[in-house]
Symmetry: C2
Subunit: 590 residues, 2 copies
Amino acid sequence: MTYQAPIRDLMFNLEHLSQWPQIVSLDKYSEIERADAQAALEEFGRFCGDLIAPLSHDADTAGARLEGNKVVLPKAYEKAYAQFVDMGWQSLAHPAGHGGMGLPRAVGAAATEILNASDMSFGLCPLLTDGAIDALELSGTDEQKEIYLRPLVSGKWSGTMNLTEPQAGSDLGRVRCKAEPREDGSYSISGTKIFITYGEHDLSENIIHLVLARTPDAPEGHRGLSLFLVPKYLVDENGHPGDRNRVNCVSIEHKLGVRASPTAVLEYAGATGYLIGAENRGLEYMFTMMNAARFAVGVQGVALSDRAYQHALAYAQERVQGQGIGLDPEQVPTIIGHPDVRRLVLRMRALVEGGRSLSMAAAGWLDLSRNGTDSTRAEATPIAEFFVPLVKAFCTERAIEVASLGVQVHGGMGFIEETGVAQFYRDARILPIYEGTTAIQANDLLGRKVLRDGGQTARRFSAMIAETETTLKAGGPKAQDIAKCLGDARVAFNASLDWLLDIGSDNLRSAFAGSVPFLNLTGTLAAGWQLARGAHAAEIELEQRREPEFMAQKITTAQIFARHVLVECESDRARIISGASCLLDETSQL
Amino acid sequence: MTYQAPIRDLMFNLEHLSQWPQIVSLDKYSEIERADAQAALEEFGRFCGDLIAPLSHDADTAGARLEGNKVVLPKAYEKAYAQFVDMGWQSLAHPAGHGGMGLPRAVGAAATEILNASDMSFGLCPLLTDGAIDALELSGTDEQKEIYLRPLVSGKWSGTMNLTEPQAGSDLGRVRCKAEPREDGSYSISGTKIFITYGEHDLSENIIHLVLARTPDAPEGHRGLSLFLVPKYLVDENGHPGDRNRVNCVSIEHKLGVRASPTAVLEYAGATGYLIGAENRGLEYMFTMMNAARFAVGVQGVALSDRAYQHALAYAQERVQGQGIGLDPEQVPTIIGHPDVRRLVLRMRALVEGGRSLSMAAAGWLDLSRNGTDSTRAEATPIAEFFVPLVKAFCTERAIEVASLGVQVHGGMGFIEETGVAQFYRDARILPIYEGTTAIQANDLLGRKVLRDGGQTARRFSAMIAETETTLKAGGPKAQDIAKCLGDARVAFNASLDWLLDIGSDNLRSAFAGSVPFLNLTGTLAAGWQLARGAHAAEIELEQRREPEFMAQKITTAQIFARHVLVECESDRARIISGASCLLDETSQL
């Protein structure tokens, strides 16, 4: 089996969880209809299901290879990428002014999910291009936008992010790459960058590298980094790729997963670069790009989870092995009849739909934060920023879990590479690492988004959840059950928050010893909340007798999440509040 | 870095948790001293650390290959296996009567851990041989023992288990392999077996396959299976390998992990086999072997976890990246200074030591159950059998978690195969699948070991834990804290047990929907209990001022397990008691 885009659930999320009515009332999207979004996603779903998903296993087997300085990708990628560009899919959520389709970010997120579920190795190229477009749109000069945006939006050119160096990973203050100003206003870029996704390849006609580097008199550390645009081919006066720039791929990595995506070591040897924005503000621009990338990586997590779930469900429904306990012996004994296989598959479904609802809700807030009126932005921005680390961490950590459960459903067959599900388990492992590890997300959440405003946004988040509980309590028995679990998890969140705000004022190490448990708790609560909102919407639809099977399933899935996943919040509360001192105890002799 | 055998902790477990005084008072072990065990483990630790562990990464890269009908293993395995045999390591825990060293099972478990931590692909060959020795010892005729045991115990010959067929995995009742009796008393074996670990290779001079097959008039299903001994080379009158038997390797699997261990598809085409024990009792004999193998696979989980932990700790102590929050800025900023890296590494340590203490305690009970007096056996057997699925499930599921955390500690470097830790993540994934998936272990625990005796053994288990709590409450503040967490987890266990016993009487599907959560809860509780017993032993040692650093660390590690891992029992209680009905709800449309 390959992959079927979950259009119905994506549209449900778009309509009920992504603040859709507010989004389409923004000037920017005033001409967008729900039907446009659905049509685009359906067509993209067919494209990816028919043309991309069938490639992913062979592409993984072939992998990316380096021949000389040239990266050779799986043969089928060339044609697939050309078609992707021809059909204009790169442009889906980019502004019409630069040749884009101009659809809202939540629709873009849905498309990112579909593409990455089809083939995450392939999907990484457009994902990085999206980031480069974002950064240029926000911080580029008019001339830079004029030259670079249209070919990037079309997908004819692709983009990369160049941050990491061997000694500078999570700590970008250690970046050493140099940028010497030239007389003509350009800069000469020198140094080595590692872990550059799609840093070298021939799918696109040009590659636009965005590179963090240090000018000669720049201050040390984070404050001395500037952002440069370094094209693989210098652009001639007609806007076409011309001379080769002095940036070379010296090796690519042999990786656990996403093996068809080339991860390059790039050597900049006096390459021509152009400053983006002002000197020494590179990290600030990069963070904009990185926030979008972090969100997108979270969506990759949902994508990979859904792919793994679809495989596991199909296998469980066809593999004959042992009669399920308590079932009619006349029934064909496929393994879905075993209570625990049912539990595995339904847990996978709950995690997939939880992650999807979390990311679609966040996409809506991000759009309002970027494109709303001043008052909308002021309201939306803190919540949108609060959500980014939750999406990144929840959806990626859970992707590992879901991919692993998917292998388990397949039993011994899951361990055989030909089955295809081992690939998801391998691919998933990068998700909680790249674009900032889970610990980095936890620092972001606890440091910048909770302690910095004294817990104000966190309390607003909690209050919104309490409102959802109140609504659900007026509903049916399942809605009431969900409300109860959500309330328990919210109480665990509030207790943790109080403790962290209190201890954070004089014992930061104790607070941060619980940062990842706090992130896990908050992300799980946020996903459970979105599923709970969805369950309420489904109840209303059910009352109208609309799509009763789909709506009943939505409610039950939300209940499964509540009863099987939200209950984990209590363990994290205990870890945060009562688990810091033993971790920091010096008898551990670390 | 490679690997250092954890001799000190193994000896601590042996002495304090494996019922050592009772073991060495058994007739069988009357001549064994603690110092003998320590000397053997130290020497074996050096052997594995120096000669086996350095091979594992290259062996994984080379993998096992099939050339014609011949399996080619990594070159270095030949020499390593020859040395392993020369030094007599296969014989460590096998009876002196057949050429073994005759050490207790807990010492054997410690050696299994050391070997598999060094290289799990390599360790699988001796592990399967151990199983074949066990089965022959218990069920073989005197003649079979005479011919086959000595070369197996020496390691010159190796053993395999042949259960699985394409249509018969977890459900062995579907086995179709045929055994036709011949006039000379032997049988003609025909059929295809898959997933045969070390089913074909040239490391050993002969391979003794133990094969489940069906005689012509055998009843259908589980009750018609007989066990046969099928040598790769028929043994001549001098006891030497002679003519090639009609069993052929037709392919080997391309796997996610343990790539240097050949997983064979074997074709039996009228091969000569010899009945073990009586006809139609094959499954019963196989279960003896399988119980030993399940226990050993649990130990592999501890082994892999320790290897991953040792790598992560070493990396965290040397990688310079970012100053830890709240630390002296003069300190060298290795990542162990970050509170979350500390949390990751200490969680890994707690899971490793928890798994080790669980398996070493179980090894002691298994030995008493096998070799004790009648009254000792009657007391030990139910607990030993209760522990086997706990060891298998807890240590293997946690191995995936620990290996995954180990990748996370390494950040981006963890995703690069050359770093070596991605291999542990890949290797670990087979552990909760082979020798019975976690769901099969859960069926075993809940069905055979809890419901069948009306919860009697489970209540005894719980009462023993309560005794440990009482002891700890008289100790220092950390011991009291551990006792509190252990008590909470035990209460969760008792509540789950009551619910399962109650519902199990008329709604088996609801009970079994919680079987894996119940197994997880019980395994976690059992490991936490053993660490708590260890903490008490360490407190006594501390009072005598013996090895204060080691003992203090043991207590803190037990506390970390209590505060960070035992707290998960509460989520499982909630899943079992309140999570079954939504899983079984038909609106999920599975």
